[in-house]
Symmetry: C2
Subunit: 207 residues, 2 copies
Amino acid sequence: MKKISGSTVTRLSQYYRILNDLIENNVETVSSSEIAQINSITAAQVRKDLSFFGSFGKRGLGYNTRELRNTIAGILGLHKKWNVALVGFGNIGRALLLYDEFRKQGFLFQAIFEVDENKIGRRVHGVDIVHVKEAPQILFSKEIEIVIIAVPAKNAQGIIDFFVGLGIKAFLNFATTSIHVPKDVIVKNENMSIELEALTYFLTNKK
Amino acid sequence: MKKISGSTVTRLSQYYRILNDLIENNVETVSSSEIAQINSITAAQVRKDLSFFGSFGKRGLGYNTRELRNTIAGILGLHKKWNVALVGFGNIGRALLLYDEFRKQGFLFQAIFEVDENKIGRRVHGVDIVHVKEAPQILFSKEIEIVIIAVPAKNAQGIIDFFVGLGIKAFLNFATTSIHVPKDVIVKNENMSIELEALTYFLTNKK
DNA sequence: AATTGTGAACCTCTTCACAGCT
DNA sequence: AGCTGTGAAGAGGTTCACAATT
């Protein structure tokens, strides 16, 4: 398959959400320019993004919302449930566990890993908090493919190395630090203070 | 000033963190290639990013860590404290209030806005939860310039419109929905499920 | 000898514009 | 007539490569 840019993948997620909204409102057909307008991008961008994967529209008519939604779900891998583990049950970890959007999109928290003995053994929202050293067995038995990192920055690289060693290929990282992984592993950084700093840059330099 | 890309601003934030680490470890000088290596980018990228703002290095020697850190702080506007308001005190809002990184970078939560009468009137970590309708006075008296949106997706556009009407120009938005604002307003989206979907795309389509 | 700062080359992503379908 | 799908053009971002400087 041709190399698809990260921006295209991000936009597919956005189209997917827009299509879900339209379907909920019983809209059956949508044009690239309507999707574009909702997203504040160009219609050509929408069509180009979709064209990497096939031809899903009807000329003169547009796209069937339900068909296109299902097609995008297939591309993004959202037609199945994904088993996820959380590492670190602090402020951020707790919020992520309770975050509705994840559940709604079919992400299932199957384990919470910690090292704090005060937290280990508790069961929160149906998920057991266990020691990180149990990861080898649990990742396997629960078929976990995605690990969310919500530990202090100084521990993040070590934790990720450990899980890479156990065969995990995909991480969502909330620690604000540079992470190095092998080429076949993907880390998506969720970097909240860096985004805030983009705002302070804007406020400081505007006009 | 020449137009600076968002990626450059993001990288400046990363350089800023790296420089802080180096300073903490008493490193006094650093080269573009050392910064680059930590960041997994090229040395030319580091130099080009900095060159948009001036010449801060010494040929043959590199950059003085403390000077460069302070220069970048100035560019990003991190030489001052920023007053921030949080809208929505649910899971995500609570986690953000407690998030250490924000405090460390000089972001001060000055108000929490809610509409839930059960939450209004409480004081959490030194910050009062008040009704959104009090925003006009509080934004002014507390000199708030940045608003963090942690409300349900369906309310996000309305809330943002309200705060734009009150003169706020910068938002960090945790609601997963398309937001439209005037050209002189910036919204940074912190979109956690979209990042997770980039992982499922990767896992689904790799190899 | 080492490393910066930068024009030019290169590459990638976005937009244009229109032929081709429905 | 209307809208898609896409090659080509355009814009923007990254890397190269080397003169300039310490």
